[in-house]
Symmetry: C2
Subunit: 379 residues, 2 copies
Amino acid sequence: MAKTRLYTPGPTPVPEQVMLAMAKPMEHHRTKDYRDMLARTTEGLQYVLQTKNDVLTFTSSGTGAMEGAIVCCASEGKKALVARGGKFGERWGQVCQAYGIPYIAIDVEWGKAVEPAIIEEQLKNNPDIGIVIVVHSETSTATASDIEAIGAIVAKTDALFLVDAISSAGAMPIKTDEWKIDVVVTGSQKALMLPPGLAFASVSEKAWKVIESNNPKAYYFDYRAYRKSLKKNDAPYTPALTLVRGLDVALSMIKEKGIENVWAQCAKLARASRAAFEAMGLKIYSSSPADAVTAVWLPEGIDEAELRKILRNEYGVHLAGGQAELKGKIIRMTHMGYVDEVDTMGALAAIEAVLLRLGHKFEIGAGLAAAQKILVESR
Amino acid sequence: MAKTRLYTPGPTPVPEQVMLAMAKPMEHHRTKDYRDMLARTTEGLQYVLQTKNDVLTFTSSGTGAMEGAIVCCASEGKKALVARGGKFGERWGQVCQAYGIPYIAIDVEWGKAVEPAIIEEQLKNNPDIGIVIVVHSETSTATASDIEAIGAIVAKTDALFLVDAISSAGAMPIKTDEWKIDVVVTGSQKALMLPPGLAFASVSEKAWKVIESNNPKAYYFDYRAYRKSLKKNDAPYTPALTLVRGLDVALSMIKEKGIENVWAQCAKLARASRAAFEAMGLKIYSSSPADAVTAVWLPEGIDEAELRKILRNEYGVHLAGGQAELKGKIIRMTHMGYVDEVDTMGALAAIEAVLLRLGHKFEIGAGLAAAQKILVESR
């Protein structure tokens, strides 16, 4: 009878209003209704990303839209600068490699933020850098980088600034225009409270100038086709209509709450959770923790698989483990999307109980009291 | 964006498996499929009520089935003995009154259990008592009475023992046959994890003998019609088919978990919640608290309506207030049905936070720690 409660950093819980909207009878997408809906969702995404730029909607995961951004923005004879501080930073290097795009990698120690100064230095030393790729919230390490600072640096050059905001947009402040980000990519299954299946990209005029003059090795992810269709509020290829319908509802929920309030709630839940974990004697993994997701080191002697299995089977609490080199060493818990204080306190109670059961020593209720203190004080 | 989380003592949360089963296309009820389903649900209800007796299914609230029990079991020239220790005990007196059934009321102080000795004394002094009506878990006061002890007393007489188990069956141990209960009435929207709309009654052979020889002023709630139909696994009048379909799923969930485990979970959540409230400096209302629901006195200066409104609007936590003379004085929180430790700790965290905000003084996290202690120790 265990409920399914997702505290994984994507997919995240989907509100029932969204689920019900998606369960309505199937419609066709070459209709005025669909175009009106896409016009609304595009505007809603502009609000979430705080931009006047075009926002394209892809039927794909975030990886697909990010691949499109890289391929479309990479000009012949130019290099990419890729900040790699986790699994996703590494992935964007692999995309460059797959397409034969020459790139310089900045290897950041996992769990640390990308240093804006290093980006600045690389751009100065390599005037042939055409695109700079940085992950805002590196989901694998729950680490945030200072996109605003890096944006200001890249904007002074001819290079384009591509940001993987897959697990940050809608969770942490991101101000696309103010921070001068050329391409922001995000996905549906994170802070946007949808099932997986859609990805989005905002594209600046500076980026369009480059994209329009390129001849990318791309078809499905050729951004130009999406821009052309967007002018008619349409999709170039058959869109995942039910997901767009869900998006329409999810965006209206975000708008009603106000994006600043959404960001503030996510930050508060993250702060409370970090305080709880520390009070339980666990160490936060990142030195620059993202508010979208928290990663914590497991204490000596606690088996990650066993901990997560008990939480899943007996409490219905689904956490993520570590990826790649962090497998078995950390657990990750989301704060973004459709999770609130009640969900968070419930999950922290379950984590506390299971850690105690597995023999980790701390005062019963210490984690909960620490989290409660943050929640009560920040009301 | 506040979620709807019912912690009210009915309706309670409905599992999505149940909701999805009820959302399937409509079928007809005069079919083999329906009869097979009713055979399964009847067997499942016998398991929940721990009885070999017939269990009848009514499309009504619990009140309807209870009215039917009283009217069908009341014989000409005999009296009813009604234990009144709350709103529901009073209601069964009102039913007697409406039908002109003479009755003796035992008025129990609200929040206290019915004394078996008083029942015994009344039965001794009034040999013309035909039915004894006791509420197992008085929802209005969150108070439990000792049905086993009273059952043993009534069984020694010719009187029938009618138990309102509307908010106890499936939440607290009830052993119909072992405890010699003639009629047990319950409803769908409590521990059975269904929406409102169905009521159930188990009927002993001793009761059938009386019912069959009576000529009750009843048609829709004439138990004889339901018994006749039940022999063919059928319903006398159009049944609420989707609710029976949901019942089929809910009962299979209870069976899979095991009724003893369901009872144990409810008791554990109740114990943890009572400990939390006491640690927050709140007093438990009942001196014989039911495990299905907890009622607590509100501290001086805390406005019940305001407390519940903030919990509802900001946390999505729906509690019940007091009824009748307890309006504005107590809050009530359920432990039955589809609520678990994560739900309970989440709700207690919200209640703690709001009590602190409204100025009630206690150490932050004290309630949570007290509940966590119970949960950790009883694993």
